[in-house]
């Protein structure tokens, strides 16, 4: 869509439309797409393209959008990589222009991109339930359940990006209450707003798109060296803000500059210190070539959560589950290498878990950590193939030493 003002040709070519579920937004978007000849790209389209271009699993990308936890993310940083890759996909489409991003992923477009109009389509919950009943044939209970789940994902997403609620007006240029105005009025309102929107010079829009692309490329490159980095670019002059705990600051800054300079389009790079920066330290530095993936299994939540935190401080990446069945499910879906396992748990006990793991995934080393054990229990566990048997409360150094030995065994078996 081109608008002309005296001596200036301007373009407003990107719409992002976020909506609550069952707010009749699809109709509005289809009409807008036809009216302005815009391509409509949904979250699913963007995820599909990102999966294809960056070889990231679809399930992982969906997990990120739903704000579900990703196992071992402290080590793999898969979540951060997914977001960088999604931004790259978005930046490619923003460069092309003339599109409507329909969904939550439009929030990844930086606010510095001024030629994007951000729209929210929302309605009262009761109306949304009614829409679902009328148009999708759902029962009230089913509709409410789906709405609550969808809203939860939306809220978690914007909370993680902006620390704001999903329907907060400050995130949008215009809010369309689809329960108060019909589709025709909604389309007219958006079109009118588009016409009134302050627009910028064509060259500046082009530069904004280029800067966005550059930011996305830089973020992808920097994912390999660390997280908590905020990237800004203005005509190729890049500023990277270090906004997290860092141990060797100067070395880290040099690495950032070195990596960023290799990206085509970068004119200059400088680093800044963010407000969340502080000098970190670790208790003991275990140098793992490939960090261990550890699963902690214990029904005593307070204990295992504290242990988890202490292990992470010592660079032992870990995840927690609270019962035997969850442990077995986890090993089916994820890839732990070492399990720290309690014996006495409700439901499937530790003996059963140990037996099943050693039968189905014998490469996983299991360390028993129990408050209960007798000599007979120890003998049983060792016969079942446990790597070690420790009594609670065990010293943290003993636990980490045992894990290190398990790691050495695993590495030796790989060779």
């Amino acid at each position: 869509m081109k608008l002309t003002i005296k001596n200036m040709e301007a373009v407003v070519s990107i719409l992002t439309i976020t909506n609550g579920l069952y707010t009749n937004s699809e109709e509005i978007i289809q009409i807008l797409g036809k009216k302005f000849n815009y391509r409509i790209l949904t979250d699913a389209d963007l995820i599909e393209k990102t999966h294809h271009d960056h070889d990231i699993r679809l399930a992982t990308l969906q997990k990120v959008l739903d704000s579900r936890p990703i196992a071992f993310n402290d080590f793999t940083h898969e979540k951060e990589r997914c977001i960088s890759a999604l931004k790259k996909t978005l930046s490619d489409f923003v460069s092309e222009g003339n599109c409507i991003f329909h969904g939550a992923l439009g929030h990844l477009i930086p606010k510095t991109i001024t030629h994007v109009m951000r729209v929210l389509v929302i309605a009262e919950k009761n109306q949304r339930i009614k829409n679902a009943e009328d148009k999708k044939g759902l029962s009230k209970k089913e509709a409410l359940k789906k709405i609550e789940l969808s809203d939860k994902h939306a809220f978690l997403w914007t909370a993680s990006l902006f620390n704001e609620k999903a329907w907060n007006k400050s995130l949008y240029d215009i809010v369309i209450p689809s329960d108060k105005i019909d589709t025709k009025e909604a389309v007219e309102l958006i079109s009118k707003y588009l016409n009134k929107l302050l627009f910028t010079h064509k060259d500046l829009i082009k530069q904004e798109a280029l800067d966005f692309k550059l930011i996305a490329d830089i973020e992808l490159a920097l994912d390999n060296i660390g997280q908590g980095l905020l990237v800004e670019s203005h005509k190729g002059d890049v500023v990277v803000t270090i906004d997290k705990k860092v141990m060797l600051l100067t070395k880290f800054q040099q690495k950032i500059i070195q990596t960023t300079k290799t990206i085509p389009g970068v004119n200059s790079v400088e680093t800044k210190i963010g407000q969340n920066y502080y000098k970190g330290n670790i208790i003991h530095n275990y140098e793992f070539e490939t960090p261990l993936r550890i699963l902690l299994v214990d029904d005593e939540k307070e204990f295992v959560q504290t242990l988890s935190e202490r292990l992470k401080m010592r660079q032992f990446t870990n995840e927690i589950v609270y019962n035997g069945q969850a442990a077995l499910n986890f090993t089916d879906e994820e890839d732990p290498e070492v399990i720290l396992l309690d014996l006495k748990m409700p439901g499937i006990d530790g003996f059963e878990v140990l037996k099943t793991i050693k039968k189905t995934k014998p490469h996983i080393e299991v360390i028993i950590l129990t408050g209960h054990g007798s000599k007979a229990d120890k003998a049983t566990c060792m016969d079942l193939g446990a790597f070690a048997y420790l009594q609670k409360p065990a010293d943290i150094d003993l636990i980490t030493q045992t894990m290190k030995k398990a790691y050495e065994k695993i590495e030796a078996q790989k060779e």
């Binding site: 502080y278 970190g280 204990f303 202490r310 006495k344 408050g371 209960h372 409360p393």
Partner: protein, 221 residues
């Protein structure tokens, strides 16, 4: 093969369950103390985060300390029930304490014990050890007859509403007839009857609504 008598076995199982919990409490306190040490080593430059983390650890340690005190107090009260052969027993309090000490044991089998409130709990003069043993046997009898992962509801009926204790699995699908048949045929039922006889109490199978066991508190001579 030599086996312990029932009372000893009962005391052993209750003590094992409680001490397991106490061990967990101490393990948590130890880990929190260690975490506080780690935090002091980790964050010398970031005072607000340091203070927040330490406050969190101290809160958890305090909570666990209180939990530990409750457990040892409960175990101490349990141990003192061996002091005399005849004492006034507050039925509600003794059941409440027994549930508190043994909930972990039953949770291992996916069973939660729920004691309904009682405004004026009855009190009886009896052998506290045997009385607790009877309560324990009722729970074990039910546990071994019903499906795991079902809860047990314990109701105390006051002298004007029946003067008894009822133990019922919280499962509306249970068939009264067949369940009670299984119960009465188990070896544990015979043991229960024998033990109740020692202190003049009567176990009965509940035949109305949900099945279960009731212990009448009218002590017949």
């Amino acid at each position: 093969m030599k086996t312990r008598d029932d009372a000893t076995a009962f005391f052993g199982q209750v003590t094992a369950s409680t001490t397991h919990e106490i061990q967990n409490v101490l393990a948590i306190i130890k880990e929190n103390a260690g975490l506080m040490e780690d935090i002091l080593l980790m964050n010398p430059d970031n005072l607000p985060t340091l203070l927040e983390n330490l406050k969190r650890c101290i809160g958890k340690t305090k909570e666990q300390a209180y939990r530990g005190v409750d457990l040892t107090s409960g175990l101490n009260a349990f141990a003192h029930t061996t002091d005399t052969f005849l004492a006034p027993v507050n039925v509600y309090e003794i059941i409440k304490n027994l549930i508190f000490l043994t909930k972990r044991f039953f949770l291992q089998k996916g069973i939660k014990l729920a004691l309904t409130d009682c405004n004026c709990p009855p009190s009886i003069m009896t052998d506290p050890v045997l009385f607790q043993k009877i309560l324990w046997m009722c729970l074990k009898c039910l546990t071994e007859t019903m499906d795991l992962n079902t809860n047990i509801i314990i109701t105390i009926l006051t002298p004007d509403t029946g003067n008894k204790i009822e133990f019922r699995p919280d499962d509306p699908t249970l068939d009264n007839g067949s369940f009670n048949q299984r119960l009465s045929r188990s070896a544990k039922w015979d043991d229960l009857e024998r033990t109740c006889k020692q202190i003049n109490l009567t176990p009965r199978l509940i035949t109305q609504t949900l099945p279960g066991i009731s212990i009448g508190l009218d002590q017949k001579s």
